[in-house]
């Protein structure tokens, strides 16, 4: 688990986007398991995102027209995983994030914490190798923020998934093993 900290505009999010394959770096090379992501086709990157890399965002970014359950199920649907298998995974993960009783709710009916829990569930459902989290607690009060950090620590770390956490918060970085700092686009390890 690694935290990246730095002032606004230092390039934290851009780095995350590049890592997630959503954005392309202007120069340099980026390797995922020995493969150069700069050389990968869009469909290969999409494949990576489907199975290997997941993201958690400051503003949650749940799909507003889908219920909690559907939001979590969505990445599995993209992978065309059979329905019964999906159901099981979704049910178990719902339980893990404690959202089972809210599974029929739409995102706008949820509190910030609930939304982020759903987002974490959505990130975990594909069992990725890496989770990129961009200020996951930035939009939450401290109590909910604490809750989310706990959840991340418990679920992500427990499953041995790499977590790259971009944050302003000392508290958040505290859960990580390593903290890098960024300034003006440069990573200070």
């Amino acid at each position: 688990m690694t935290a990246i900290m730095g002032p606004s505009g230092s390039g934290k999010s851009t780095l995350l986007h590049c890592l997630g394959g959503v954005d392309k770096a202007d120069s340099g090379r980026l390797f995922f398991r020995e493969r150069d992501m700069m050389q990968m086709l869009p469909s290969e990157i999409a494949g990576l995102r489907r199975t290997q890399i997941a993201s958690i965002f400051q503003f949650f970014y749940l799909l507003p027209t889908l219920t909690v359950e559907e939001n979590i199920e969505f990445p599995l649907q993209i992978q065309s995983i059979p329905q019964d298998k999906r159901r099981d995974s979704v049910a178990s993960i719902l339980k893990q994030v404690g959202m089972t009783n809210r599974k029929q709710a739409f995102p706008n009916q949820l509190s910030g914490g609930e939304q982020q829990r759903t987002a974490i569930a959505r990130a975990l459902i594909t069992s990725p190798k890496v989770i990129l989290a961009d200020e996951p607690t930035g939009n939450l009060d401290s109590q909910n923020g604490r809750l989310i950090l706990d959840l991340m620590q418990n679920l992500i770390c427990a499953k041995g998934i790499a977590l790259l956490l971009v944050t302003h918060s000392q508290e958040a970085s505290a859960i990580c093993n390593t903290t890098w700092k960024m300034q003006d686009g440069n990573l200070i390890v």
């Binding site: 494949g47 889908l66 969505f74 993209i78 959505r122």
Partner: protein
């Protein structure tokens, strides 16, 4: 206000939507106007404007009438010019097609008209001058065939490469006639051009060519200029009125009475043409809303700077008005151009069904332009009203919030109100028609149509929500469906609007198709019942209600004497005025209607004519249109105007006939010929002896007779249907415009909606959705909207179709039609709609998915 400079594309899109709507409306109005003005006053192309026009209820003036008109005018100075009109077929185009090129030949009393030069010596119309000057030019050609002088238009001269002195061959009645060109008229800029189909002749020449001495169709009176002109006109009107033989009209009233013939047709067209504008209104609303969404930050800033909500609203309304003006202006230009094309379509329809109209160009008309312009601006303002109000009323804080579900447009989502309105419409449909001087106006029917359209726009959006559970099973199948159909659960206002627009477009288009299909089915039934003869003989080029070519007695007698012919029914038709309205007198092949075996009876004549006291009185049968227009019933006595005075006949039965909506009264042919002193036949229905081959007989007769065309039963049926389809060509164009506008609206809704949802796309991308998947999702979403619109549109179309067939047609035209549902057409509409929606929305999805995420910090 600066929106349009910063978003030229969407500005262009709005303006073009308004432009298309205004253009459709304006062009149809202009084309209608032109087609109507094309009636009767063809001499207006020579710059002649009569002050009074005399017409005859029997349709024909005799020379005695002309003498008595002169007597009654007594000492009142005026130029009195009888006019004769007929049609001539272009002999250059041989063949049996009904779509032969037809000319309208106008016979003018060139001598009388020469006196008009004194009325305006300085600017006497050059072509009128030539028309009289060079007019009568009747001479024997080397071949012994008669040749007559004729004045043709520049347009025709250019088309055929004709010049003064050249000859052209036409068929008048059943005779080949050589016309030699005396003069080519020159069109003046900004005046109605001389249509290529109009030929001018001296009236005496035309009478000779028609072998109808002394015949004229109307008499025009021109009063001299001066202070006392109006006094003279009033005096003349006073002297001439109260005469049974003729009616006195000003050109305007006379034009109106001609126009009234096609009133129902034109009313329908006008209503149809507004369809595009109505559908467009939804789109403008949508577009305005999108603009407001985009301008939100700006509004919020303005509001926080202390600008009042009222000022914000005014600003948005001004912007709507600006779009309205810009779009309508473009629409006028587009519409004017479109009218030039539409006028031919409308005119060809009118020709086929009603009177001869020779319009080829549509005049710019200021009042129509102002009407179209204000409609466009009003539509734009009305469309901008709700979004503007919303923008003004929303609190700045709320505005900053991203995304929103519905907004004002959810106001559309009122199924209960819609149901209430629908019921009101249903009540309206049963209101009796409103009578005016020319017939019945199905006001209730139109009201019902309007209410139902309104109801559909209120109910259909709710349908989007109802669609969601229906599609639910599909969502589990793939993420594409999951995302696409989830949109329907919480549709945005834009979705609602585009569904409403689609519903209206599909409903109206489908309703028309329903009507046309029912009409066609009925026609086919009627044809199979009434067209039973083996061969149909007509003068070449005769094929529409407006054609006036006739066969001489010699011709039809020689045909009927053919050895293979068992029986030949000679048909005659004369336009007459009954109770001040135009209708037709036709001949019945038998004297006792009971013997008329091929009639399709609505009310069969009683088999015991002796029951009636008037056994000596001639009997007549009327068609359904006549019955409903003039409110007559069996055993009523009606007085028919004829050149021999009024003749009283008893109505014995009512038959089905869909040839015209003005009504037909049929009387024994021998009587008709006698009354009109005219033995010429419009057509002959020939029944062959058993065993005779129709084709052989046809070829045999054609080898002997010229100037006629003979159709076998099968060919005639095909041609009747061909003309029928041609009749609805304008309707089809309008339908497609409405559908196209609706699809454009849906596409636009998708664009704005997706731009708003860019983040969601980004998220899906993050979750590993491919671009293709996202594009497909967009397509599916569009398709779901289209299908919802289609389903509700289908319901609406069934209602409107029923309304058109059972209420409006019956009331306006007096036709009973069998309802027939055009399944095939409807399914193909669905397929086309789906394909177009997919074709337009998938690229939109692809485009949005390729956009990079904007900064979200």
């Amino acid at each position: 206000m600066r929106h349009w400079t910063r978003h030229p594309l969407s500005t262009l899109a709005f303006c073009s939507i308004i432009a298309v709507g205004v253009a459709a409306f304006f062009s149809i109005r202009l084309a209608n106007r032109a087609a109507i003005s094309g009636f009767t006053y063809f001499d207006r192309t020579l710059g002649l404007r009569p002050d009074l026009v005399l017409t005859c209820p029997s349709g024909q003036f005799s020379e005695e009438d002309l003498y008595s008109i002169q007597n009654q005018l007594d000492s009142i100075p005026c130029v009195m010019a009888p006019v004769l009109e007929t049609t001539a077929t272009d002999a250059a185009q041989k063949g049996d097609s009904l779509n032969l090129h037809q000319f309208l030949v106008v016979g003018l009393d060139t001598f009388a008209m020469s006196n008009l030069i004194y009325y305006d010596p300085d600017s006497s119309n050059e072509s009128a001058y030539h028309a009289w000057k060079e007019s009568s030019h009747h001479s024997q050609g080397e071949t012994g065939e008669a040749s007559y002088g004729v004045v043709v238009s520049q347009a025709l001269a250019n088309k055929r490469n004709l010049k003064t002195g050249d000859q052209m061959e036409v068929i008048i009645d059943d005779r080949n006639t050589i016309l030699s060109i005396l003069h080519v008229s020159r069109d003046e800029v900004f005046k109605v051009s001389h249509p290529s189909t109009i030929l001018f002749m001296n009236i005496v020449d035309l009478q000779r060519a028609m072998q109808q001495t002394g015949l004229s169709h109307r008499v025009e009176l021109y009063f001299p200029p001066g202070r006392d002109k109006s006094i003279l006109m009033d005096k003349a009107q006073g002297n001439l009125e109260n005469n049974q033989r003729w009616t006195v009209d000003t050109p305007q009233t006379s034009l109106n009475s001609n126009a009234s013939v096609t009133r129902a047709f034109r009313l329908n067209l006008t209503i149809l043409s507004m369809l595009a504008l109505v559908v467009g209104m939804y789109l403008i609303m949508q577009g305005m809303d999108a603009a407001i969404v985009r301008g939100r930050m700006e509004i919020a800033t303005l509001r926080s700077l202390g600008i009042t909500p009222g000022a914000v609203k005014t600003a948005w309304l001004l912007e709507s008005l600006w779009y309205g003006l810009l779009g309508s202006g473009g629409g006028l230009i587009l519409g004017w151009a479109g009218a030039q094309g539409a006028v031919r379509l409308v005119a060809s329809t009118v020709n086929a069904l009603y009177l001869q109209s020779a319009s080829e160009s549509a005049d710019w008309n200021h009042s129509e332009a102002v009407l179209a312009l204000s409609l466009g601006c009003m539509a734009s303002l009305a469309a901008g009203w709700f979004p503007a109000r919303e923008s003004a009323e929303t609190q700045p804080a709320e505005i900053f919030k991203q995304g929103r579900q519905g907004g004002f447009m959810t106001a559309l989502n009122k199924p209960l109100l819609g149901a209430g309105i629908a019921i009101m419409g249903w009540v309206a449909a049963y209101m009796p028609p409103y009578p005016d001087e020319h017939g019945w106006i199905p006001l209730g029917g139109y009201t019902a149509a309007f209410l139902w359209v309104l109801a559909a726009t209120l109910i259909a959006p709710a349908g989007l929500r109802w669609m969601a559970p229906l599609l639910q099973p599909l969502t589990g199948y793939h993420a594409v469906f999951m995302y696409a159909f989830s949109q329907l659960r919480r549709p945005t206002g834009r979705h609602l609007l585009s569904v409403a627009a689609l519903t209206v477009a599909v409903g109206m288009a489908g309703g028309m198709t329903f009507m046309i299909h029912s009409f066609e089915t009925t026609m086919i039934h009627w044809i199979s019942q009434s067209l039973n003869a083996d061969l149909y003989v007509a003068s070449q080029g005769f094929g529409s209600a407006s054609s006036q070519n006739r066969m001489s007695k010699a011709t039809w007698q020689s045909i009927s004497n053919h050895t293979d012919i068992k029986r030949a029914d000679v048909g005659q038709i004369f336009p007459i005025d009954y109770q001040g309205r135009k209708t037709f007198l036709t001949s019945m092949p038998v004297s006792n209607p009971l013997d008329w075996e091929y009639a399709l009876w609505i009310q069969k004549p009683s088999s015991s004519p002796s029951a009636s006291s008037n056994t000596n009185m001639p009997v007549a049968v009327v068609n359904e249109s006549f019955q409903s227009r003039f409110d007559v019933k069996i055993d009523d006595l009606i007085k028919i105007p004829t050149p021999k005075g009024y003749k009283t006949v008893r109505i014995a039965g009512v038959f089905a006939e869909y040839g015209n909506e003005q009504g037909t009264v049929a009387v024994d042919r021998n009587l008709v010929s006698d009354w009109f002193q005219d033995e010429r036949a419009v057509n002959i229905a020939v029944y062959l002896n058993p065993g005779a081959d129709p084709e052989e007989v046809r070829n045999e007769i054609l080898s002997r007779q010229t100037g006629i065309s003979i159709r076998t039963n099968r060919v005639l049926r095909e041609e009747v249907l061909e003309i029928f389809h041609q009749t609805f060509s304008v309707t089809h164009v309008l339908q497609w415009i409405a559908i196209a506008v609706a699809i454009a609206g849906l596409t636009m809704a998708m664009i704005t909606s997706l731009v708003e949802r860019q983040l969601e796309f980004q998220v899906m991308k993050n979750l590993g959705m491919t671009r293709f998947g996202m594009a497909m999702a967009t397509g599916m979403e569009g398709l779901a909207c289209a299908w919802t619109g289609f389903i509700f549109g289908t319901i609406l179309s069934a209602c409107l179709g029923w309304l058109l067939v059972v209420v409006i047609n019956k009331q306006a035209f007096g036709w009973t039609l069998q309802s027939a549902i055009p399944w095939k057409d409807h399914v193909s509409l669905l397929v086309i709609l789906s394909l177009f929606v997919l074709a337009s929305t998938i690229p939109v999805g692809w485009w949005v998915s390729t956009k990079r995420m904007h900064k979200e910090e």
